[in-house]
């Protein structure tokens, strides 16, 4: 169904889910139109929370457990799963853990395919976050693709990054490594019913003591709900404190740069697709791309 700009604007302003869903599709398919629409809508700052960690660590389940405890809040969920590098297809299965909330009026869960974006995000992540702020949610949870040690992009998008670790995630040296372990504002050791989780907690504490950044660690069990309230309270507390101390404003300012970078990368990728690379050498390919960018200005 084709919908006009004015239909989308009126629909989103009146809080109509159907038109908000269309706006999210526009974010995915036409970022120029999405950014134009978003700039015509009133935004309210929401706490953007990144939930990241390796595949199967419990990212979807912990968001579900957080939703269970947040019935009085308006929350958006952006659940990202990988696209196939071969067919472009994707199996978006994060929702399966959150389906009990599918009909909740206060929650809006949306699945995204990574569509070639790196870092465990989707190419439209910035537009999508902005769109959720026009829908006046209190918080947006971004569930990244199951990530590896160097997928740190979420740190450029989220106001707060929660890194989930599985009890059997590895020894101290794994936790000393740069990358993912450095971007955490909170650590969560999920699946706390596993006896190894207590041992991991003390190992992680030891490692954190060696550094300068004080990162709180939470032990949770998403199935029983154990530890979830501590986490949600800490998230709320952090949001008010970063609002107050100016860290949020600073992060949002930096996010504009990251957003511009993401748009430029996408444009270069698109142009590169149109250049006949098989007839050119490395230098000529680069010149052809730069010429096309300059020609488009």
């Amino acid at each position: 169904m084709q919908v006009s700009d004015s239909q989308i604007l009126d629909g989103v302003k009146s809080g109509d889910r159907k038109f908000f869903a269309k706006l999210l599709s526009i974010c995915e398919d036409d970022s120029v139109r999405a950014n134009r629409l978003i700039s015509n809508l009133e935004k309210r700052t929401a706490h953007v929370i990144g939930i990241t960690g390796s595949p199967g660590v419990g990212k979807s389940s912990i968001i579900n457990a957080i939703l269970d405890k947040s019935v009085d809040k308006k929350i958006g969920v952006i659940a990202i799963d990988p696209s196939s590098p071969f067919t472009g297809g994707a199996l978006l299965g994060d929702r399966i853990r959150m389906q009990s909330h599918a009909t909740s009026k206060n929650f809006f869960i949306r699945s995204f395919a990574s569509r070639g974006a790196l870092g465990g995000l989707s190419p439209s992540i910035f537009e999508t976050c902005d769109a959720f702020e026009t829908f006046k949610v209190d918080a947006v949870f971004i569930e990244t693709v199951g990530v590896g040690q160097s997928d740190v992009e979420i740190g450029n998008v989220a106001d707060t990054v929660v890194v989930l670790i599985s009890p059997d995630g590895g020894d101290e040296v794994q936790m000393m490594k740069a990358g993912l372990m450095e971007i955490a504002d909170f650590f969560v050791i999920n699946k706390a019913d596993n006896p190894i989780s207590k041992a991991l907690l003390s190992k992680l504490r030891n490692i954190l003591e060696m550094g300068k950044k004080d990162v709180p660690i939470f032990l949770t069990n998403s199935i029983t709900g154990e530890g979830i309230e501590n986490l949600t309270k800490a998230l709320d507390k952090r949001f008010s404190s970063i609002l107050e101390n100016g860290l949020l404003a600073q992060k949002r300012q930096k996010r504009v740069t990251s957003h511009a970078q993401s748009i430029l990368r996408k444009r270069i990728d698109d142009i590169l697709q149109t250049v006949k690379t098989d007839q050119l050498d490395l230098e000529e390919i680069q010149k052809a791309v730069i010429r096309k960018i300059c020609g488009n200005l």
């Binding site: 999210l24 067919t87 297809g89 199996l91 978006l92 929702r95 399966i96 389906q99």
Partner: protein, 130 residues
């Protein structure tokens, strides 16, 4: 990019068929949302709207299709949505005919090759866009 919701309403827990279809559509280049077993018509319709999918694939083996499918169609109508629905599962021929009259695009029985389902969905959108 075609975005499809694969959903299993009702109480039967046999989702191998739904999973095979979800996987085949993924390999055919579609974005497939899989929501698992025991979904209510309300959950399915709300998910289809929030996810803004292009099509819904419903898998039913329980025999309750003549209750569940009309309810899903009714809810879609209430939400002014005309998203096309494809059904797969154990469906007697006479019921399949009735469902098509209600507006279901196609009904696939046991043993249908996945290529037929893929072509059915792709074909629908090729015709729809012409």
């Amino acid at each position: 990019m075609i975005k499809v919701l694969i959903a299993k309403p009702g109480l039967d827990g046999h989702d191998r068929g739904a999973k095979i279809i979800a996987r085949a559509l993924r390999d055919a280049g579609m974005e497939v949302i899989y929501t698992g077993i025991r979904q209510t018509p309300e959950q399915i319709v709300q998910t289809a709207i929030d996810e803004d999918v292009d099509a819904i694939g419903i898998s039913i083996l329980s025999g309750a299709h003549m209750k569940l499918i009309p309810r899903i169609l009714e809810l879609l109508k209430e939400n002014n949505s005309n998203v096309p629905i494809f059904v797969g599962g154990i469906i007697p021929e006479e019921d399949a005919d009735k469902m098509k009259k209600m507006g279901i695009i196609e009904v696939y029985g046991p043993g249908t090759p996945t290529s037929v389902v893929i072509e059915g969905i792709k074909g629908y959108f090729e015709h729809a866009s012409v």
